[in-house]
Amino acid sequence: MACRFVSIWFRHLSTDWFTLRQHAAANQMVNAKSLKELPFVLRTPSHGRMVITATNDAAEKKGIHKGMVLADARAILPDVQVMDDKPDLIDKLLKRLAEWCIRFTPVVAVDPPDGLLLDVSGCTHLWGGDQQYADAITRKLNERGYDVRVAMADTVGTAWGLARFGKRQLIAGIHSHLEPLLQLPPEALRVEAETVERLHKLGLRQVRQFITIPRTSLRRRFGPHLLMQLDKALGQELEILKPVQPIEPYEERLPCLEPIVTAAGIEIALQQLLETMCLRLQREQKGLRSAVFKCYRIDGKIQQVDIGTNRPSHHVRHLFRLLAMKIATIEPGLGIELFVLQAPKTETHMATQEKMWSDSGGLEDMRLSELIDRLASRVGTTSIHRYLPDEHYWPERSIKQATTLHEKPTTTWRSDKPRPLQLLKRPEPIEVTAPIPDYPPMLFRYRGKIHKIVKADGPERIEQEWWIQQGQHRDYYRVEDDEGQRYWLFRLGHYHDKVFRWYVHGYFG
């Protein structure tokens, strides 16, 4: 497929922005005259004088240009409007505009100081052709208040040159970028000012005049940079754009003819995107672990929902259910014009042979992980726990949380010492009557009720793990009261210590 590139040149980027801002403020001030008609420049101090950094169209017509000293401009036009330039305004503006342009193509690169570069290969037919595509960009940017020139060609270099120096036709046809390139001046090749000056001095005012000169002569006179830029414009050297947003390797896009505002519409879009993406994932034996569904609204805002799965999946119905649960959170506003589905995280997912009998596959079962995904998307992953044994005697530390559904225990579950079925989150203090040191208590009072102990086992001493936590040890007793209820009690510290306390920590089955 032929590569196509678009170069957008913002002729008065920063002054346009100041005008727009004044427009927004002018809603309050009725009698303020618009900056649009007035000659208007931005200034910045440089080497002890004020230098003009940007001009608007009206000022340019009067002969004021960029790089002029402000005093000179005032001499030409005494009532020129002046404002202080903001140093990092251009970078911010370009980045924001580049992100906005993602609706036209996924690959948008910033081209400082005053342009954007778009890789539009395979995008233009969605707008009905190259001309309509370029017109749509121009119209939308003009509506926003930016004065732009949009050019399209097979190479970045030609598109860049056409946008800035093209005379009539700004769109070069497919495989015919040479003809428009020949008519461009040498500045259009993005070479240093000295080289341009030297070329002009020699009377070479158009590319056609020196493109036929042998390369060795050109290199000798003008250095290797000119040749490289010439190759880039001709497409003999590859030029790689650095996208403002890295492209997700798994991404599906669905532009809409008319803005979508209903939940049903969003669902249909989601279903379509999932079907195409899952088909691709299935072919490549991959499954997605997380997905992001982005909705680009016509007012420039982006609404998005994301999901995660426990196991790689390319199951359309399951993923649709997960995402559909969150559709209610999308605010369509005035309408959504573009849907994008991305899979930032994918893993290899081998197809398993289907079983004829419906036996439970245990923890490996796909249906189980899909169920957990559904639960997690509503209640959050933090409320889902699975425990594995950990090598600690201290009861609270004897289990650890498993990170995945299919993580295997590294040690065996201990069952040599009895452990209660119900363990209180924190031990509750009790009052106890104990006859002899290190004997189990005779009775204890817990929640206002006196329990008479009939049978008891113990003690089981569990020491603090000093490398984790300092403190007193626990002497655990298993006791049964006269009603047959079984408790797990412990005494914190030695009986002979001045301070020791009794606690109840759990109930046995």
């Binding site: 439970s360 209660p420 119900q422």
Partner: protein, 242 residues
């Protein structure tokens, strides 16, 4: 000979009656579960899987006893590589203790929620999933409609559901197939040894659809249920319940 024939006729008639009453056999042929005489209370003498069972427990001590009895049931149900979900908003279950009942605690997935409403929702979702063996939900109260939803969910998926109810102020009717109350009994000591013996519970089956009610004393010993001699013979009178 005649007696044998008569018994056959009775058995056939009983299954016919159950069928007419709308009782459907779950597709899965279940193991004995080691329930012994309790089985006589079940329709056709089989513990109903693919149904929701309700356990009443007001105090945490009772909850521990109920959890112990459920764990005993699960040890046979989950024998075949099964998994279980434990859904609760106030869970105190300590996973390592499940090992005592012959269960692998890492085969349990615990879902700890904040809101009671989410517990019912999560149970409903989980009971629809045929990949799991059992779902245990701890709730304070459950309405008839909610229990009906759960019962409808399990009838399709054949998952066994257990509901542990904590709040017993007003016990409403539910669509669950059975209602149990498990209370702890003094443990059984062998040969006058000191200390605590095997856990013992009083199992009250208060309601059983197409079955009978009854009271039994059950011990958990060496990985299976052992039945103490029946205590209250008078309560064992068969009562047919709808």
């Amino acid at each position: 000979m005649i007696l044998q024939e008569r018994a056959d006729v009775f058995a056939r008639l009983q299954t016919d009656i159950l069928r007419l009453q709308g009782f459907r056999m779950s597709g899965q042929v279940t193991a004995d579960l080691g329930l012994g005489p309790i089985r006589e209370a079940f329709p056709n003498g089989i513990f109903p899987t693919g149904a929701v069972h309700e356990f009443l427990s007001a105090r945490p001590e009772n909850t521990a006893a109920s959890a112990g009895f459920i764990a005993g049931l699960l040890s046979s149900l989950m024998e075949n590589n099964g998994t279980a979900l434990w859904i609760s908003s106030s869970r105190a279950l300590f996973p390592p203790a499940l090992k005592t009942f012959g269960l692998a605690p890492d085969r349990f997935i615990f879902i700890d929620l904040q809101k009671e409403k989410d517990v019912i929702w999560a149970m409903d979702e989980a009971l629809k999933c045929g990949a799991i063996t059992a779902v245990i939900g701890e709730v304070n109260k459950i309405s008839f409609t909610e229990s009906r939803r759960l019962q409808l969910a399990v009838e399709k998926s054949n998952v066994t559901g257990f509901i542990l109810r904590h709040q017993l102020q007003n016990i409403n009717t539910t669509a669950c197939v059975s209602r149990w109350r498990i209370t702890a009994l003094p443990s059984v000591v062998m040969d006058d040894l000191p200390g605590i013996g095997f856990p013992q519970w009083r199992v009250e089956l208060m309601r059983m659809r197409n079955g009978k009610t009854g009271v039994w004393d059950v011990q958990w010993r060496e990985g299976r249920f052992i039945h103490a001699p029946l205590v209250r013979m008078e309560e064992e009178q068969s009562k047919q319940t709808g």
